[in-house]
């Protein structure tokens, strides 16, 4: 187990450096932060040169990246063009996004796995067909379309839920955005769970468990689910990235002032420090989540631990 953890941690280092460097390089190579600072007006060359000097933009890209990385590890993500530290902006934005992602994740796990188990256990029956058709439809509707339609129906027409999320983002107002954000992933989780459940329910160990007279409930929860959930957990880990990306869309629809909102504003105004800072943090969260999933995987499946 220890060796596995160490190997996994070591493997993460080049990935971390590579990912952050690509983001950094793309933004700096393709855009001009000084020109963006001046908006549509052309900057005075002398002033532009001075700002370049101040921001260290004259150094080679590698040096700039090195400085930036040094900053990240000391908790400094630079300052936005408006003079606010990026970390401060992140502190105001991140809790909201985290709340939204958690709400969505809860829906994804509970409803997704629940539907998957129901449909996997009753393969070929009406419930199974219903779940399959429903998930197929949900998968083929892009998140933003689901978002607008549900917002219109629930928020505006029937008035059941809040159409937009107020300041501070209380949990009850995040339920509808959470469902919207979770919808596509939820459908994938349901389908994946169904497949693994259906595959494993024919396995020898399930037959043994049934044959020795265990109650059906115990067979399902202790034998079948424990083995079937391994691929689902892998999916959930990689899906965090999709959830964070989807949060950008959901936050725009429901006017949630989270990471996606500020990131979107940063992109519109070409506010390079905000964009690079936010995306880097999101990527780090994504990589850590994947690491966690891999470790969890080893806990759940001894074959990996001892490999």
């Amino acid at each position: 187990m220890g060796r596995y953890v160490i190997r996994r941690l070591l493997q993460m280092i080049p990935v971390f450096i590579g990912t952050t460097f690509i983001i950094f390089a793309m933004v700096h190579a393709l855009g001009d932060p000084v020109a963006a600072l001046f908006g549509d007006k052309a900057p005075d060359p002398a002033v532009a040169a001075q700002i370049r000097q101040q921001l260290g933009l004259n150094d080679p890209l590698i040096v700039q990246y090195g400085n930036y990385m040094k900053g990240i590890f000391t908790g400094d993500l630079g300052t936005t063009f408006s003079g606010q530290p990026v970390t401060e902006l992140l502190k105001t934005a991140y809790p909201t996004t985290l709340k939204l992602t958690l709400v969505a994740f809860t829906f994804e796990v509970i409803i997704g796995i629940g539907l998957g188990v129901i449909s996997g256990m009753r393969r070929g029956k009406l419930a199974d067909t219903g779940v399959m058709v429903m998930t197929l439809i949900v998968i083929s509707i892009p998140t933003f379309v689901i978002g607008y339609v549900l917002q219109y129906l629930f928020g505006v027409k029937w008035g059941i839920a809040d159409a937009t999320v107020p300041e501070g983002a209380p949990i009850q107002s995040l339920i509808l955005p959470g469902i919207v954000l979770a919808s596509v992933s939820l459908a994938y989780v349901a389908r994946l769970t169904r497949t693994t459940i259906a595959e494993n329910s024919k396995a020898d160990y399930v037959r043994t468990a049934v044959a020795k007279g265990l109650p059906r409930r115990r067979v399902v929860t202790h034998h079948l689910l424990r083995n079937s959930l391994i691929p689902v957990i892998t999916f959930l880990g990689t899906d965090l990235g999709a959830l964070m990306g989807g949060a950008l869309v959901t936050e725009r629809i429901f006017n949630i002032h989270g990471v996606g909102y500020y990131l979107y504003q940063g992109i519109l105004r070409q506010n390079t420090p905000t964009v690079v800072g936010f995306v880097t943090v999101l990527v780090i969260v994504f990589l850590l989540a994947n690491l966690l999933v891999d470790l969890l995987y080893a806990v759940l499946d001894p074959r990996i631990r001892y490999a």
Binding site: G18, P142, F144, E199, A242, V279, N290
Partner: protein, 342 residues
Amino acid sequence: MPDQQPNKPNGVPDDANTELSSAFPQTPTLGAMEVEGMLEKEDLTHAPEQSTETVAVADREVPRSLWQDAWRELRHNPIFIISGILIIFLIIVAFFPGLFDSTSPLKCDLSKSQNGPTSGHPFGFDTQGCDVYARTIYGARASITVGVFATLGTALLGTIMGGLAGFFGGPLDAVISRIADIFFGIPILLGGLVFLSVIPSRSIWIVVAFIVVLGWPQIARIARGAVITARQQDYVTAARALGAGNPRLMLRHILPNSLAPIIVVATIALGTYISLEATLSYLGVGLKPPTVSWGIDISAAADTFRNAPHMLLFPAGALCITILAFIMLGDAVRDALDPKLR
């Protein structure tokens, strides 16, 4: 020879012998070697029976390949037929939008802004007074082009990278796998916001290139796994023993046998790439006007959705039907190519 006949399984006739003689052109038929040769033959004639124990082999004389089997299965799958017809229709619309509509999607009349459906204009007008039906018809081209070419690109790049990593293993595998991990570590929508927002001109091909750059690791992982499995098979060892070089091994022996999972993943990805293009356009970093795209139209219609829902619902409906058709096709192909699910 005739004394061998009873030992033979019923379903495998002379066919197996010809295969054998082509693989071993100089089968020894003299003296003591004859017995050995026969034993070998017996083993080989038994082998296909055991490995392809599908129902199909029993009811037909000639054993079919995975592809023939899959095609036979697909032809009888109603989901495949429905999605196939839909996709053919969509491709015709994408190539010849003029067949379905005589007005131009860029000919707009502001006085008709946000008007609902009327006769001759079944989908109504958008904010700029353009005919929504015309824009929906002409929007098919962008979505389908992006979907198809992004899928071809990712499949090609992913297969090459994953295939090389799986075939050679060792340091090359380590390097390619780490590079794939790096690109896999950037969530595609976040990457889109960062990369595409700094590119000033965003044609269809820029979006395709972007999806290929961030999308290939998904295929590469599948391809690597499939190639590693195929590489360990006996037929590869046999071909190598007969003197086949690396390129021949890769192209003639391993590639055809590891293609199935790649095709499955790629077909399903096609639908999601179309959805991705629309989402990127919706966020304002995908395609740009004057390109007519469903994503752009939905994005423009979103602000006034409450007053004029028809502007959003028609292009969104077309988008969903397109994605649905491709995902259904992917599902059908997977069911046909993955014998485990049968």
